[in-house]
Symmetry: C2
Subunit: 318 residues, 2 copies
């Protein structure tokens, strides 16, 4: 069974939704409490599949918190806290120290304390976080026709960072070449190893946007959650930073494809008819707002051509 079959089987059998306002199908599950909404998300990570080898234990700790908190930000909610269950395979004390220091450091930055967890013996490092947040107005996926489609800051660097790791693993570059690239592209490596959830941005956006999600699988997949759209590659170029353009030029990559395939960016992808307000709010946080297209009545287009979801994914793995 592939992942889609598994998810379909699960969805077919989990039928009871009780008093949930939203069960599956968005960044978070949502419950109404008195005058507020509780938003909850969970994300499980395994050493062999989830952590680029370049990450330090401290950065792994940051990452499990960030991946979860990003879904709270994607609801434009305020994080309340997170619990993290951990499975270890004969860990060293130094590893656990650095891992948990990384969690604590970033939890403080997000004002989202780690308040509980569970520890177990496991066959490989396994981390499962569950974050919860509060908002009076949860923002779901799916924009309104006529909305601008906007992303925060930039996209593309994570893809390039993984490309550097891949070139090393495939022997295309040697150890020196690898070290040189790490030094030449510090912002690419930084985004790969210490991405940030856009918590303050999500809270600031709450009253201006009609839909919001985070860029976790890459724009080429996450655009699904916007609804019907037309995207302009020329506009999307504005969201691609100079180092990515330079890296693409050097290694013969198409920057648009790179931008569409760059996952775990944790930038926010949202839609609004109030671009000017959004830009004001976000620039106050030092965050850019890049228009990349519009929500339309029907269909999915890029530069007038039909947009193929995730069609870009396998292009680089041949």
């Amino acid at each position: 069974m592939n992942e889609l079959d598994i998810i379909k089987t699960i969805s077919n059998n989990i039928k009871y939704t009780g008093k949930a306002v939203k069960a599956i199908g968005d960044d978070c599950a949502v419950f109404k409490l008195e005058n507020q909404y509780l938003t909850i998300t969970t994300d499980m990570m395994f050493k062999s599949t989830h952590f680029p080898e370049i990450l330090t234990p401290f950065q792994i700790g940051m990452r499990v918190i960030t991946a979860n908190v990003s879904d709270i930000a994607a609801m434009c909610a305020k994080p309340l806290g997170i619990v993290v269950s951990m499975g270890f395979n004969y860990p060293k004390k130094e590893f656990i120290e650095e891992l948990t220091k990384g969690m604590d450091f970033i939890a403080k930055e997000y004002e989202c304390p780690v308040v509980g967890g569970d520890t177990n013996k496991s066959k490989e490092l396994t981390l499962c976080g569950t974050a919860f947040g509060i908002t009076s107005n949860p923002i779901y996926r799916g924009g309104e026709v006529g909305d601008d489609i906007i992303i925060t800051n930039n996209v593309g660097r994570v893809y390039c960072g993984l490309k550097i790791l891949e070139m090393k693993d495939k022997g295309i570059i040697d150890k020196n070449g690898f070290e040189n690239l790490l030094n030449e592209y510090p912002n690419i490596i930084k985004k790969l190893s210490e991405p940030r959830a856009r918590v303050k941005e999500g809270i600031a956006l709450n009253k201006y946007v009609n839909s919001c999600c985070d860029v976790s699988d890459g724009l080429g997949k996450d655009l699904r959650y916007v609804g019907n759209f037309e995207i302009s590659s020329k506009k999307l170029l504005n969201a691609i930073p100079k180092d990515v353009i330079e890296f693409c030029d050097r290694f013969d990559l198409n920057p648009i494809d790179v931008a569409l395939n760059s996952g775990e960016e944790w930038e926010l992808l949202f839609t609004t008819k109030k671009y000017d307000d959004v830009e004001d709010e976000l620039s106050g946080l030092g965050t850019k707002s890049i228009k990349i297209g519009k929500v339309i009545d029907d269909g999915h287009y890029i530069d007038g051509d039909e947009f193929k979801f995730g069609g870009y994914i396998h292009k680089w793995s041949k």
Copy 2:
């Protein structure tokens, strides 16, 4: 590092607690929201360490929900929902169907819907649940001097069920002998394979009790959470059902030791000065209330002797 070292290292490094009313150190983490409290708990389970081999996939699904919801019940809170992350190692469709049907079935019984999750590829079946509940009055661990110490229903059957599995694994009984025991002790097997979280009991107890926890590690360990106490083995005998007494007699076990070492019973262990009210409330739910001792000023005693926490644990493994 053993589990205690790991937990200590984690606790030393996770320092930021934000606005949590209670972070680590109880059955749940607790946050105050408007006029209510949110309680959260998480529990991660691996196939090789957490599920008795006798469990069906349906019962495994029930178990991950029950283990988590039991901690909500231990706060005397009302479950709101649960998210479950799942790691699979080449699962069959039938397995996932039965697993998720078991989750859905018991979620409905507890009125605690499964509202989200995450799926991954993993080296072995890995399930991580995070349940959350609501209460206006969270009940913590630690009783008041003079409180009666009470458990719901009975304890001991889970230990006996695991003993049956152990006898089979060690070749002490053959396949026929094993099947016969399964048939002779249906209530022992039922408690091992389909234990229930005491959700209704927890809610009903809320206004009468001074402390509450659940019996997860076995009374011999969980009594730690009560505070100082004196326990009477004669009273504890009242909490041991007849089939356990008979099983102990047949296989030369001490029923008091069995009762103290029987984990994952998910009964509630609570303290109160209002035993009569408690008994009324719980009998209305068909649930027994068994007094086993008193909270005292200082020390831990059983029948006047010093109580050795967990000292019973290794007795049966020599």
